[in-house]
Assembly symmetry: C2
Homo-oligomer: 255 residues x 2
């Protein structure tokens, strides 16, 4: 249980899932998942386009099974949408027309693995450059310590998830209730400060950008590094992801 | 076996031992161990002061056993030299008077753990800021791919080992036989470039510096970030570390 008002809350950055541990402590921790290319960017986009909820799965078998149960499924292999799926994994698949009011299944190996190991946390939020400021404000309001968990690529460190971790850490440290003494957080902020004036230019050296380019899937990269396109706050609860933002309340009221 | 001339050789940076794997490949790999505060800096210092060899051990029991067998032992706990030991773990312990011509046992948890997991590599070299350029020249001459393995702190990422990895990567990439496409290497070089104009100033935010300061062991920190104080190339072979540099040949000839 959370005390009435505890501060400072700490921020830590975990550079890959292999390094993750939520420490047992009296203070509850929110894990923010960063998988910029492409899962967390795609998930934010789907909610911006008013998806009802998203069920993340790690394997094609689970995705195929849920397709049989009538869900819309986003799944691809080697950059190609799979036959049984309704969408690929690109943010650009999740248009208003396609997803509004729907529950989607999103098959992502790296993102789902990170989600699995983060389950001991109090809450798991989905972070991307496109929801950076909205997420930061929500996190301040939660008054809990934060671990930013970078999904990486097959367990390895990757630049793009670390840059987002740096951007979020810097924003939160602007608030007096947060502090950090975490070397990974310092490194992530320093990298963010090198990259931020030309994020897309910086990321061209990243391994993941090169992989997407070879697969012809790099169209979504500039979009993935745009900041504050949406106010959604996707949070993982009861095995699905929902948008807990005021933005969502507004959408529901509109409808 | 190595082909007559293969290039480019690759450079990868492994940010913590938890992320390490030497890939099976036709090309042999040299692992460079980075444990700046304090093991690799201390080991280089001991060889600069003409130690004959160093046996690294991970546990106090091993250290105690080797003391009984007549070795000089460097070992401390919570910053205090242990009763049975001849030295603590600081580089400043290893004076010419104390170590010249001797075999030392060095007890270091993080460094030895990194050494253990690096054993599948073709060779393991000991890197520190104080032997940066000498090591880089030797590595170029070896004509093999390189993995810089950061020891970290209890398996976690740490800034100081990463800065060294960045400095070494940048030096090697100045040579046409090396290339990298490793995100960790790019990140390490970027951090090095932020820090290099005032390394000691930069490292004051590091967790490990803060720990050493609390223990009153930070006297060795400025020294640990001085560059090119020695020409030694400590290499791990047959369960001990020896200096394979020309420097050593010169010393032997002098004696």
């Amino acid at each position: 249980m959370q005390d009435s008002f505890q501060f400072p809350n700490t921020i830590e950055v975990c550079l890959t899932p292999a390094l993750f541990s939520v420490k047992p402590s009296g203070k509850e921790v929110i894990v923010v998942l960063s998988d910029i290319l492409r899962a967390t960017t795609s998930i934010c986009t789907a909610f911006e386009n008013r998806a009802k909820s998203i069920i993340p799965v790690a394997t094609l078998d689970e995705a195929r099974q849920l397709k049989k149960e009538g869900y819309l499924v986003a799944s691809e292999q080697d950059g190609k949408k799979l036959d049984f799926a309704d969408f690929g994994n690109s943010a650009f698949s999740f248009t208003r027309e396609a997803v509004e009011g729907k529950t989607l299944v999103y098959c992502t190996t790296n993102g789902t693995r990170a989600l699995e190991i983060a389950k001991p946390a109090s809450k798991i939020a989905i972070g991307a450059f496109i929801n950076l400021s909205a997420l930061a404000s929500w996190l301040v309001y939660q008054d809990k310590s934060i671990v930013v968990l970078c999904s990486g690529w097959k367990g390895k460190f990757c630049l793009e998830d670390t840059l987002f971790a740096g951007a979020l850490t810097e924003k939160l440290l602007g608030h007096p209730t947060f502090e950090t003494s975490c070397d990974s957080a310092f490194a992530a902020m320093d990298l963010w400060n090198i990259a931020k004036s030309d994020l897309f230019g910086y990321i061209k050296k990243a391994e993941h950008y090169q992989r997407l380019k070879e697969l012809g899937l790099d169209d979504v990269v500039p979009y993935s590094f745009r900041i504050d396109l949406t106010g959604v706050i996707p949070v993982f609860e009861n095995n699905e992801i929902v948008d807990v933002s005021k933005h969502r309340d507004k959408i529901i009221k509109e409808k």
